[in-house]
């Protein structure tokens, strides 16, 4: 990329005297990495909210590595799957550690990504010229959710089986062809052996797809650089520092801070975020009394359940994620950072609080007062997006008045 072949002069670097230079003249990988990893100009005023991207990257790598080692012992067959997990936990040397890391790692990965998205929302990282960067992030989030769901099916416990049944049935709301699609997805007339095998295949391959899209995410990031807490585009070179050693060191501190509670959960509370029902082998004849997804899906699960019409519920749930794609155009304000947006700042915190409420109510049985709370929370969730164009206008008017 870059130079026109006609402009290239003869290359005289000596392979023995200067092997790195010789390589770089032929494949500019060293200068590429220097420009994009070590020396990349990064705003010097980034705060701690900006460490979650690096943490999420580490989380992804941990999931891929532990996953590869688990794949060496796991059996994707309805007769063997549940026992192969027990085999990993009991027979394989250190298998319990690797599996606990993978299990807890999924939860922590979501925590990091939610924090990363929250930071993007607060500091307006989705705004021009970073709409595509944001959109790629939403795509990563979607694939990540799919991967987590597929992975949760693999241990073939009761929650695996019924989670798979419920989630795949969501697609039956598609008019006319919905039921055929579900049968096609299952490879049978219920969740069964073909389903497990294909879910395993996709669970294995999707993380590498995520990794590739993360590279594109970083590519888009490096076109216009990071935002920063002030929300202003920094036009002075003195406002930048090289990524290394400043942000490698800072990110490393964040990563270690992340790994401490992670390790605590891995060693002392590995099953804490799971469900005991999943320690019972899958039984197609009995649904567990109280079926809930993993905590990181609960807000979206609450949206699904809050609406008593099947089609609308499914639509609202998918819509709650897809609406993030149009966020850059819903928010009309040219001001990026919530620091300088009094109205938006309040809305942001209401949105975050409401998201937590949705998660909480999603874990409760769908009855009584919980249904009401869930419905209010759904209105607030979509209300945030619906009010954004108006808020942007009001805010600007108010700020001008203030002047």
């Amino acid at each position: 990329m870059g130079k026109h072949p006609a402009d290239i002069r003869s290359v005289e670097t000596n392979i023995v005297k200067n092997p790195a230079g010789w390589l770089n003249d032929r494949l500019p990988i060293i200068s590429f990495l220097k420009d994009n990893a070590l020396n990349f100009p990064t705003p010097k005023n980034l705060n701690w909210a900006y460490v979650f991207g690096g943490i999420a990257m580490v989380a992804l790598m941990l999931q891929i590595i532990t996953g590869i080692f688990l794949a060496m012992h796991y059996k994707a067959d309805v007769k063997l799957a549940f026992d192969s997990i027990q085999h990993i936990m009991r027979n394989v040397e250190w298998g319990w550690l690797i599996r606990n890391m993978h299990m807890v790692g999924a939860s922590f990965f979501f925590m990091a990504v939610y924090a990363h998205m929250g930071r993007g929302l607060y500091y307006g990282s989705y705004k021009s010229p970073r709409e595509v960067l944001w959109g790629i992030g939403v795509i990563i989030f979607l694939i990540m959710m799919a991967t987590a769901f597929l992975g949760y099916v693999l241990p073939w416990g009761q929650m695996s089986f019924w989670g798979a049944t419920v989630i795949t049935n969501l697609l039956s709301v598609i008019p006319f062809i919905g039921n055929s699609i579900v049968v096609w997805l299952w490879g049978g007339y219920s969740v069964g052996d073909p389903t497990l095998t294909r879910f395993y295949t996709f669970h294995f391959v999707l993380p590498f797809v995520i990794l590739a899209i993360v590279v594109i995410h970083i590519w888009a990031l490096h076109e216009h650089g990071n935002t920063n807490p002030t929300g202003k585009e920094l036009r002075n070179k003195n406002d930048y520092v090289p990524f290394h050693p400043y942000y490698t060191a800072k990110d490393l501190v964040g990563i270690v801070a992340y790994l401490i509670p992670f390790s605590f959960m891995v060693f002392f509370l590995p099953e804490y975020l799971g469900h005991t029902d999943n320690l019972i082998p899958a039984n197609p004849l009995v649904t567990p009394a109280h079926i809930v997804p993993e905590w990181y899906f609960l807000p979206f699960y609450a949206i699904l359940r809050a609406i008593p019409i099947k089609e609308l519920g499914v639509l609202a749930m998918f819509g709650s994620i897809l609406i993030m794609f149009v966020l850059p155009w819903l928010d009309r304000s040219p001001i990026k950072s919530a620091r300088n947006r009094p109205l938006f700042r309040q809305l942001f915190w209401i949105f975050v609080l409401n998201f937590i409420v949705l998660g909480w109510v999603g874990g409760k049985p769908p009855e009584g007062v919980y249904v009401l709370i869930a419905r209010v929370a759904v209105v607030v969730y979509f209300g945030f997006f619906a009010l954004l164009p108006l808020v942007s206008k009001l805010e600007i008017a108010k700020l001008k008045e203030g002047k």
């Binding site: 080692f69 060496m72 085999h87 040397e93 690797i98």
Partner: protein, 187 residues
Amino acid sequence: MSSNKKSPKVEIEDQIHDAPEGDVDAERRKFLITSTAAFGAAGAACVAWPFIKSMNPSRDVQAQATLDVPLGEIAEGTMKTVLWQGRPVFVWHRNAAQIASAKAADATSTMDPQPDADRVQKPEWLVLVGICTHLGCVPIQAGDTGWRCPCHGSMYDASGRVTHGPAGQNLPVPPYKFVDANTIRIG
């Protein structure tokens, strides 16, 4: 990525090189970098260890370490192949002629010399790991005189000693003991 834009990258490199030397405690910086790297490497090694170990034989595989073979069902002059730790083991009930053939070959087995008496606990029972010492194929028994490997033509005599290359070592004798007169325990 795109070269048509003037990026602040070059400036940044200048900044690094232009860092005021007087403000830098080089010793301290060197110590911090070295100790961080050392702790990081030690941590990485500790994390890598369980992953490497996880590929070792798991406990259920280790539990297959021993195998009891009843000898009553192996008639004199015939051989039985059993599976021990996933490997074929030849248990040959040699008759007098076969024992004599093996003893007679003591003198001619020069590639990896070992007397037949050292390779058996009881002369009528020869126990061998049936894997060619060349590249791991299973040799085929060739009458009373020994084995021939179908892959690359190595030959073994009636004591499992190599008589013809490319293999260079005798068929190994696995650890085994007579639990009673009619049973051996391999492993």
